[in-house]
């Protein structure tokens, strides 16, 4: 009887367990707390990019069509150190004020990130190249031309009234002299560059040439393959939050362009939106709200959304929001399976472990698996990089994996993916020092 009682209770437990597991597996991806498991990825050990003495930071990764992997980041400019010495730039307590001059450097790996070339300087002149989500970005044409954009503070040193700079490979192993792309000076920030499927570079940024009303505008510009202007600057959207990176994806041979950004209304409520163009980016339709997060914040979160389009045409979006209460804060995910007409209810990818702005990125693989990287605080209150994958079925998530072990803080992960190689890079800061870390994982080995 005793055995039977135990047996029946054990049976109940097993049934309940199986039921709860099935319940967890069977719910829609939009419902939180339904994690089914895909395998965690096996990452190679960390590598560091750049000259550690020059505080490398703000990496961005991109594969070229020939399979070579490129990383671009910023470092202290030698010219800045010389300038300081010659000017005796000292503070009252005798501590040398470091120079704000930074240089953009580009390095190449021909073996999927195992070894790297010596970094090559991109900007000929010394400039105060901005980092974080304003950091330099690189893109490559199908015939391996290199295009780079970055931002520098405006003429009065104001980073919020900045300028977008552009340079391209000069065909002799160097780079052309940089030029400013925004036609109204001291008004642009957060540039991104992509090569549209027609081969022409497309640059987008957040613009404040119309400084009233306060929300910013979304501006685009197209270049010819030789780097000359194909279009003037043109406005395609308004009502943008003043900060944060933009996300972009293409479809239909470049005819359809999707962009994501954070919109702000007059009550300071910030929601993320999708903007869609069906004429190759010439005009965009009305912004489509991805999720009604109701995040009311008058301050500066500086963490933009990410978008990726898989081969089926599903649009995957990830973003950070604090939502309506602090308890809602975290990285969220949603998907549109109808070309941006509607989005699934948001899914909590990772809740904030403390009040902190989290940075995110995502990339879709050839097999429609989606890879997410973001930051959150670890048990020691240090920001680390985490990773998670979503299988092509749209509901099978891998466990949350911590892939950094920063002594200070890790921030702003960048992702690149080609065939079976996933690359993740980020900045680690500890006090006044920073470094760029990269790790790779073999996927579907």
């Amino acid at each position: 009887m005793k055995t039977l009682a135990m047996g029946s209770s054990l049976t109940s437990a097993i049934v309940a367990t199986v039921f709860s597991l099935f319940a967890a597996c069977g719910t829609d991806i939009s419902a939180p707390n339904n994690p089914t498991h895909a395998a965690a990825l096996d990452f190679n050990p960390e590598q560091h990019l750049g000259d550690v003495e020059k505080n490398p930071s703000t990496p961005f990764l991109r594969y070229r069509a020939d399979g070579h992997l490129f990383a671009i980041w910023t470092e202290d400019d030698d010219a800045g150190a010389k300038l300081n010495l010659s000017h005796g730039h000292e503070h009252a307590a005798g501590k040398m004020a470091p120079s704000p001059l930074r240089t953009a450097v580009l390095a190449l790996s021909m073996d999927g990130g195992k070894t790297w070339s010596a970094p090559k300087r991109v900007n000929r002149d010394s400039e105060e190249i901005q980092g974080e989500e304003n950091g330099p970005k690189v893109a490559f044409s199908a015939d391996n031309r290199t295009y780079v954009v970055w931002s520098i503070p405006g003429s009065k040193g104001d980073k919020t009234r900045a300028n977008i700079r552009f340079a391209m490979g000069d065909g002799r192993g160097g780079f052309t002299a940089a030029r400013t792309l925004n036609e109204v000076n001291d008004a642009a920030r957060f540039p991104i560059i992509e090569i549209a499927p027609d081969g022409n570079p497309l640059i987008a940024w957040i613009d404040r040439r119309i400084d009233n009303p306060k929300p910013r505008q979304l501006y685009l510009m197209r270049l010819k393959t030789d780097g000359h202007a194909l279009t003037k600057n043109y406005r395609v959207g308004a009502g943008l939050c003043e900060c944060c990176k933009l996300g972009i994806a293409f479809a239909d041979g470049g005819k359809t362009v999707y962009m994501v950004d954070r919109e702000v209304n007059d009550k300071q409520i910030r929601n993320h939106v999708l903007r869609k163009s069906v004429d190759g980016g010439a005009t965009f339709g009305a912004p489509m709200q991805i999720s009604d997060d109701g995040w009311q914040v008058p301050s500066c979160p500086h963490s933009g959304p990410s978008i990726g389009r898989d081969r089926r045409g599903w649009l995957h979006v990830a973003w950070f929001t604090m939502g309506r209460t602090e308890q809602e804060a975290g990285i969220y995910y949603s998907v549109s399976k109808d070309d941006g007409k509607s989005f699934a209810p948001r899914y909590l990818l990772h809740a904030n472990t403390a009040p902190e702005t989290l940075y995110n990125n995502l990339i879709a693989g050839d097999d429609d698996t989606v890879y997410f990287a973001w930051t959150n605080l670890d048990a020691n209150n240090r920001a680390q990089v985490y990773l998670r994958t979503l299988r092509p079925d749209g509901r099978t998530w891998s466990p949350i994996q911590q892939i950094s072990n920063a002594k200070g803080n890790a921030s702003r992960p960048a992702l690149a993916l080609r065939k079976n190689d996933l690359q993740v890079a980020w900045t680690e800061t500890d006090g006044e020092e920073s470094r760029v870390v990269i790790r790779s994982a073999r996927i579907n080995p």
Binding site: H91, A92, C300, A354
Partner: protein
């Protein structure tokens, strides 16, 4: 007696079954991270009006050590900001104005978050800041004060008690009201634009 013991045993088995079910469910949902659970176990109460300001130990732009105790005995306006932050730049003339008009009755401290010494040196020069700027380069003070994004301003009285908090850019009206709460001498501040 036997019945009671059998019932007890059965209850224990049900409890065991329940525990096993809960454990299984916990395992099923375990990828919502140990860190998340830890947050529930040890929440950070954070700062609040009426509570003591949270102690810190930082360095200024000039390399001098600065702690909360450095400012004890006089009211303190403590402003979290960053050189890259739009609303911080918008409110900075007002913070500077507060510092200019302090006349020794209260103190102003800037705490720079998620920033670099180089960028802050330029910012301080450009904005002609007249108050000390402490560098919170590892974000430890920002986290202790539970700030998602700058700017945020804490008004702390001479006893170290937080009397007002403004999240987002400070306006002259908010500043005027907050200054009275920390019993600082009245400050003539340029009024809000209508």
């Amino acid at each position: 007696m036997k019945n009671r013991s059998e019932k007890g045993a059965r209850n224990r088995h049900y409890l065991f079954a329940l525990a096993l079910t809960c454990a299984s469910f916990t395992i099923a949902t375990a990828d919502f991270s140990a860190a998340q659970l830890m947050q529930q176990a040890a929440p950070n109460p954070g700062p609040a009006v009426g509570r003591n300001a949270i102690a810190f130990n930082l360095q200024t732009l000039e390399g001098k050590a600065v702690t909360l105790d450095t400012f004890r005995g006089k009211p303190l306006v403590m402003n979290f900001f960053a050189s890259w932050c739009d609303p911080c730049r918008d409110e900075m003339p007002l913070i500077n104005e507060l510092a200019v008009k302090s006349a020794g009755n209260y103190q102003v401290l800037g705490i720079a978050v998620e920033d670099t010494r180089a960028a802050l040196s330029e910012f301080a020069k450009e904005m002609k800041l007249v108050f000390p700027v402490a560098l919170d380069l590892n974000n430890t003070v920002k986290r202790a004060y539970r700030i998602f994004g700058p700017p945020a301003t804490f008004f702390i009285d001479s006893q170290g008690i937080i009397r007002d908090v403004v999240l987002g850019p400070l306006t002259p009206n908010q500043a005027r009201e907050a200054m009275t709460k920390i019993a600082a001498a009245p400050v003539k501040i340029v009024p809000d634009k209508p």
